[in-house]
Amino acid sequence: MNKIFKIAKQELKMTAANKAFVIITLLGPFIILALAVVPSLLIDKTGIAEGTKIGVIGVPEDLEEAMTVAFQENNLELVSGISIEQMKTLLFEDALQGILVLPSDFLQAENYLYYSKTGTDMMISETLSGILNHLAVTTRLEKAGFNPQEVTKLSFKAGMVVRKLGKTGEEEAGQGFSDIFFTSFSFVMLIYMTVLLYGQMIGRSVVTEKTSKTVEIMLSSVTPKQMMFGKILGLGSAGLLQYASWILLALVLVKIVGPVLNLPLPKALNPGNLLYLVLFFICAYFLYSSAYAALGAASEDEQHLGQLAMPLIIFLIIPLMTLTSVIMNPKTPFAQVLSYFPLTSPIIMLARVLVEEPPLWQILLSFFILILSILLMVYLAAKIFRVGILLSGKRFKLQEIIKWIRY
């Protein structure tokens, strides 16, 4: 045990002295901040800039005034009276944001045509579509003999307010979709990145031990098992150190900086959720790092390790790819299965915890399966490690390596 801690201490020292580690620790919070806050700031504030000019061809004379007013209400400026050729020139001089082409029989039109330089400015085209449809419908109703004021009064639409309902029955104010989505996404990205990073660091560290021939000296002092656990614990404490500094920063941000500066910080960034983040990181770390340690011991060099570790990376990527659907609908059987399967559960169960507050027994079951899997993985990894660390000179295939478990 003593030797394990000595190795762990040295590994922690060597990792913490590494420039990459320092940079990631310092930049980590900004990455999280960027992922968690900036998109929601962008969504809330990305309106249409005032005075955005839209060229319109074929404005119906009787509706020109109403249309101009409606445009102005949406920060848009209606430009008309020039030919479409001139408008195209203006568009490419950036004097116009877009060109709207209306058919001659505006009221009976099935489509309006909108040109823009990008073809992707959804916000404006949606706004224009809303304006035009509203105008067309009210005009049609008017023509059919309804009173314009009456029509406006009767044809109003209600908006939709979305609130997350907490377990205790109370509304959790401010927990909107984008809020939860971005918090979940940044937490998940964080776990994914750190587990991958630390896993590969362990793998590389073990391979380097072999390629630099330091392994002979190490094994003349300690057993392969002590060496493996020392490395896993050492790098793991480096990871925890990193998480601790990030979480401290997040709490300072949420509890002090946010209220003082009145920043719209996500409510999901709370101590409870941060605790789950750390717990799931620890589980994912032990599971993946022991596998990486075993593969590192079995590798000839870093490229070989990269090939052997492909299956692991795939299991890390699956939850990332399915994350959006899990967040939108955490009740599907697919999401349920992934939240218990140990290689994906740290990410998927964490996302479920953030989104839907699953029953406690489900969270505990997920942890229980994880811990059993970690024990099994560590047991198997130690066996592979013991054989692999002494073998060199051949690029073994994964199938051959797995057979070492029986030795």
Binding site: V215, I217, S221, V222, L390
Partner: protein, 302 residues
């Protein structure tokens, strides 16, 4: 005292070590000698408890080796390596601390050896800045910093310049005088001859010969003659009384056939070359090595 008794180890296709026995006494420098692939490293790895022998036993001071014994052993592996980005003193202290809890003792030893090898100015530099010779010395220090009772040196002189080589040899001899049990493996016979009290010659995992240097040399007889001369010596190989002749740059080492007397050789030489030295000697270890292993190798290659 280290006792290796009839130890064998086989891998999938090779019998790496085949029933080897030897004893290294306290204060003795024991040479494990043989060509590459003879089984030296496997033997050392078994003694280090890194791999287990298939049969046989290894005793430290009369007790079977266990994991704890690793702390009493210092090991300089043949293929050297250290963490490149760590400072010299830090890595020496780390490797020492893995085997001993006596921090102060390790500090003192590390300082002592750094001074002895004239590396004091380098103790706060990173390992990657060291030259090959320097890192070899640092590695040597790593093997002795925890003041072990048993020390294994695997090819300690490879890659060292003559001055460092001498310094290292003196250090090893000094450790021997201090009462350490030293196991020393090499394929360079001259080195073994200068250092070892006793040797074990290995080939293809089997013992070829063993004993003290004197015993080994006696066994190979006194029919070896060294001749230094001016003139062309090509004919010597064809003389009837010469069994074998090794030509060195400045002299030849001749083994006579059974029943031939040295003065026959002298009379055959004296008229053809001008002799500066004619000496009856013990065979060099190098010659024994070639005789016992070189010959067999050739016949196996055929």
């Amino acid at each position: 005292m280290l006792d290796v008794k009839r130890v064998s180890k086989g891998f999938t296709n090779v019998q790496a070590v085949d029933s080897i026995s030897f004893t290294a006494q306290k204060g003795e420098i024991f040479g494990l000698i043989g060509p590459n692939g003879a089984g030296k490293s496997t033997t050392i790895r078994m003694i280090m408890n890194i791999i287990a022998p298939d049969t046989g036993e290894i005793l430290f001071d009369g007790n079977p080796i266990c994991e704890k014994d690793k702390d009493r052993i210092g090991y300089l592996p043949e293929e050297r390596g250290m963490y490149k980005k760590v400072k010299v003193k830090e890595i020496l202290t780390y490797f020492g601390s893995l085997k001993s809890d006596n921090k102060k003792g390790i500090q003192e030893k590390v300082d002592y050896w750094l001074k002895r090898f004239d590396l004091e100015d380098w103790k706060n530099r990173k390992v990657q800045e060291l030259s090959k010779g320097m890192s070899q010395k640092v590695q040597f220090i790593a093997s002795v910093a925890h003041d072990p009772q048993f020390i294994f040196f695997d090819e300690p002189f490879s890659g060292l310049d003559p001055v460092s080589s001498d310094l290292l040899r003196d250090s090893i001899l000094k450790l021997g005088r201090e009462g350490k049990t030293i196991l020393f493996s090499t394929h360079i016979m001259e080195q073994a001859e200068k250092i070892c009290n006793r040797i074990l010659l290995l080939n293809k995992g089997k013992e070829v010969l063993s004993g003290s240097l004197e015993e080994v040399k006696d066994k190979y007889g006194k029919r070896t003659i060294v001749v230094e001369f001016d003139g062309k010596g090509d004919f010597i190989n064809t003389l009837p009384m010469v069994k074998h002749c090794i030509t060195y740059p400045r002299y030849v080492e001749i083994e006579l056939k059974e029943g031939s007397a040295p003065d026959h050789l002298l009379s055959a030489l004296v008229n053809k070359v001008s002799i500066r030295r004619f000496e009856i000697v013990s065979p060099s270890l190098h010659k024994i090595f070639i005789d016992t292993i070189g010959g067999k190798k050739e016949s196996r290659d055929e």
